[in-house]
């Protein structure tokens, strides 16, 4: 079944078309949400919401548009809205995590103080620093950078998702890369 046939099927309330569409694109949606959130449970929740929106607003979908472009766009919007609405809550959760993690480390280190677990901690810290540096980007830089570097979309695809010119996308990603690297250096400058 082509995407066009799937959309047509959903438009005509055909359950099996919707099931095929969900199976075909759930990896794309889930991984896109996850690359912004880095939290599997929340990414799964938002994935459900993305497909619900697709089902409910299929009549608005332009026939000449690409389904994957639409899915990327809905996924990014829903995820960023979630992050915006939960900034306060996640800030509190981060503080909680920070303290519980400290306790965990304490007990872990007491049991096995190996080089291996220390390496993992450093690696984990590096990943956190990278994610925080990406999160600090402005909205458009974050979208373009994440879709390019974490989701491997081409500049052409990103320009379609974001409705921007190719050169704007190039500029956004270039500036985002420098900003992320500058943030990373900022962390290690203090160390």
């Amino acid at each position: 079944m082509t995407d066009k046939e799937l959309i047509e099927g959903i438009y005509n309330n055909d359950q099996s078309s919707f099931r095929i569409l969900v199976d075909k694109y759930q990896s794309l949606v889930l991984n896109t949400c996850h690359s912004f959130l880095h939290d599997r449970t929340i990414a799964e929740d938002i994935t459900q919401e993305v497909f619900i929106e697709v089902f409910l607003s299929v009549h608005k979908f332009k026939k000449e548009a690409k389904l994957s472009t639409w899915l990327y766009r809905v996924s990014v919007n829903k995820t960023l809205n979630y992050i915006r609405d939960n900034k306060k809550r996640s800030f509190i959760r981060n503080i909680e995590n920070y303290f519980t993690r400290k306790e965990d480390n304490f007990s872990e280190n007491a049991i096995c103080d190996s080089q291996h677990s220390e390496d993992l901690d450093i690696q984990e810290e590096r990943i956190q620093i990278l994610h925080k540096s990406i999160n600090a980007l402005s909205k458009n830089q974050k979208i373009a950078f994440t879709l390019s570097k974490l989701e491997n979309l081409s500049y052409q695809q990103i320009s379609e998702v974001m409705n921007l010119s190719l050169s704007s996308v190039e500029g956004l990603i270039h500036r985002a890369k420098h900003n992320v690297q500058n943030k990373i250096l900022g962390y290690y400058e203090k160390k």
Binding site: Q15, F18, R19, V22, D23, Q26, S27, L30, N31, H34, R40, A43, E44, T47, Q48, F51, I52, F55, L56, Q123, R126, I127, I129, L130, K149, L150, N152, K177, H178, V180, Q181, N182, I184, L185, G186, Y188, E189, K191
Partner: protein, 148 residues
């Protein structure tokens, strides 16, 4: 640790291969001999390179079932909100007619308890009835406006 000779921006340009060959060689030599710059450069490399690790998530086989369930819930909720105003209107109409009936019965009752002279009594009754009707009519209009 901070280096006074080389800026963060220079290290970034060097890392991204965006310097001229001459500058590139200069910074390369500097980083090899400056502890602060080596610390920054090596940490930038080890951290930023992690962007290339792709962890593709496995999909959830129950996703479609969950979505279907949520769509059913949404439809049920929609149906409820469609019926709610109808019940609401019916209840309002009932209360309204109840008030009218009680008002009329009360008026008739009052009229039958006190019996002054015939002419006066009927005029008083008539005017109170008019006031009463005016009030009720206003209420009815307000009700319709509110409903719109």
């Amino acid at each position: 640790m901070k280096c006074k000779l080389v800026s963060k921006e220079k290290i970034i340009l060097y890392y991204n291969n965006e310097l001229s060959p001459l500058q590139n060689e200069e910074i390369k030599n500097h980083i090899e001999n400056c502890e602060a710059c080596f610390h920054l450069y090596s940490n930038l490399e080890m951290t930023y390179d992690l962007i290339n690790i792709k962890d593709s998530l496995e999909t959830n086989p129950f996703l479609f079932t969950r979505i279907s369930q949520r769509l059913v819930d949404i439809k049920n909720r929609e149906n409820q909100t469609i019926f709610q105003p109808i019940y609401h209107k019916m209840a309002q109409a009932l209360v309204f007619s109840f008030v009218v009936i009680i008002g009329l019965l009360g008026g008739i009752l009052l009229g039958s308890i006190e019996k002054p002279e015939d002419y006066e009594q009927s005029s008083v009754l008539q005017t109170t009835e008019f006031y009463f009707n005016d009030l009720e009519q206003e209420k009815m209009e307000a009700l319709l406006i509110n409903e719109e």
